[in-house]
Amino acid sequence: MSHATAPLIEVRDLGVRLNTSRGPAQAVRGVSFALRRGETLGLVGESGCGKSVTALALMGLLPDSAVVSGSVRLDGAELVGLSDSSYCKLRGNRISMIFQEPMTALNPMHTIGRQVAEPLRRHTGCSAASARKETIALLDRVGLPDAAKRVDAYPHQFSGGQRQRITIAMALACQPDVLIADEPTTALDVTIQGQILDLIADLVEERGMSMILISHDLGVIAENVQRMMVMYGGTVVESGATDAVFMRMGHPYTQGLFRARPRLGARKGTRLKTIAGTVPELADLPAGCTFADRCGIVEARCRVALPAAVGVGAGHDVRCLRTDVSMADAAGAVRV
């Protein structure tokens, strides 16, 4: 945070329109953020709120039919509208991504060594022998036991946690500047989750990367990122420093998410709180606030237009017209 350097990655007013079978869907609207080297950002939200689409837009991996607007700058260079062949040179080299499902993110037909070495061979043009040496060192670094011996094993010979370590090694092979982790621990056992997140955190610090961590788990976000953005219906409804957001939740949706999380130590028979209703169809978003239909304190004016983001603290923005009421509620939300 202390570096007074220019942002490494700067996203301004990012919008993504997907062409679905039910017509065009505005999957992401007006997402803006900037990350300096070494900073970490969390994206939280329910399924279908635009987290992964945002990530794929940054990677340039959206289907050809998707329309991306706004601007994504990596070290000052514009990425939106970049040709695929130029993007190929960045992906895996300067921006990398870790995926949700380690069970399917590795090709079952190739040895893990080959798959980890591939980005190395491709981007750095090093020889097979030195790529192999580097691969073993990487696998060793991500905590794969007996890396030198197991480098020629196939993905099905590893457990889920080990495979996630391998995909991390793959993503980090070329020392990327930006790492996007899309629900990296969702498919893993709880016992492994902590280990993997710690590993990612260590590597991010060790290599001075910027990280965007995507999760639907507030706990994961709370412990792993400096800043967070809460997404709903393709828009960022709240953003700010992680501590500030958790301390003074400004948006009714953030509060709802927080209340809905299951907790240890709750009395037996306590029903989990839920947010009534479902995420709106992206192909058919309401005109006003996307959360209006599920919001407890909704007013007529909420349904007129998408509320603008208002600052409720230092670098803490909330896209809500009723922050006066919601912020007063927030104290209660944390206590509950």
Partner: protein
Amino acid sequence: MSAPLTVPADSAAIAPGASPATGFWRRALRHRSFVLGAALSLLVLGAALLSLVWTPWSAYDIDIASKLHPPSAAHWLGTDVFGRDIVSLLLVGARSTIMVGVIAVGIGLTFGVCLGLIAAARKGWTEELIMRMSDFTFAFPAVLSAIMLAAVVGPGMLTSITAIGIFQIPTFVRVTRGSANAVWAREFILAARAAGKGGFRITIEHVLPNILSILIVQATIQFALAILAEAALSYLGLGTQPPQPSWGRMLNDAQTLLFQSPMLAVYPGAAIAIAVLGLNLLGDGLRDLLDPRLARER
């Protein structure tokens, strides 16, 4: 995470199973239809190879004096209307059958797989164009395209091979494109793209290896279809030309003598049936054996 027993659960390595190759053969030998299919296919292959070095009689020498002999010690299955030894004809016929199958499937496989992979990788109008073209080709029966081809360049083995090969292309295009599309939708493709790989490399390194087993199975089945098509074309006089023996040709010759010596039609018919049955069983067996879901269950 402060439980007293912090077992590093993911550090326990799963024991690497037996090497994939030995596992495959162990399962293969237990698979009945695979073993039967392989045996029948090898029988046909063996017959073809044997004919290269030895046949009881020459398959080309006409000996009208000893025509239509019943089976005897000299001619194990008798002789045909030109006095040629049936066993020798069947052995040499196996050779042309296999040649037709190999070349025709080779043509279909080469062009079909390339086009199918391009269609799956490119999508958009490229895919439309390739698929509509293969629909167009598919709409012509093989026999019809062979007749057209024969009308232009004259009948013969080469004509029938080419016609059958072209007829096989659309099948391979469809199978390849369908299964390649399924692979393209898998997450490791996204991961490969995230690692900076382009469409061509992903196709060669990730898509093709993952659909290979499907293609092998399809190729064995198409081989059987090619044999049937060749027999049909030879029977119609559009395929292998005399004096080159072929099973379809033998059926054609036997037709006029069906009431005089019906067994003349039975032998080549049985040979065709054995070859087709063997290849189909082999294909079925391979489909079971190469299915990765089954391979995992060790």
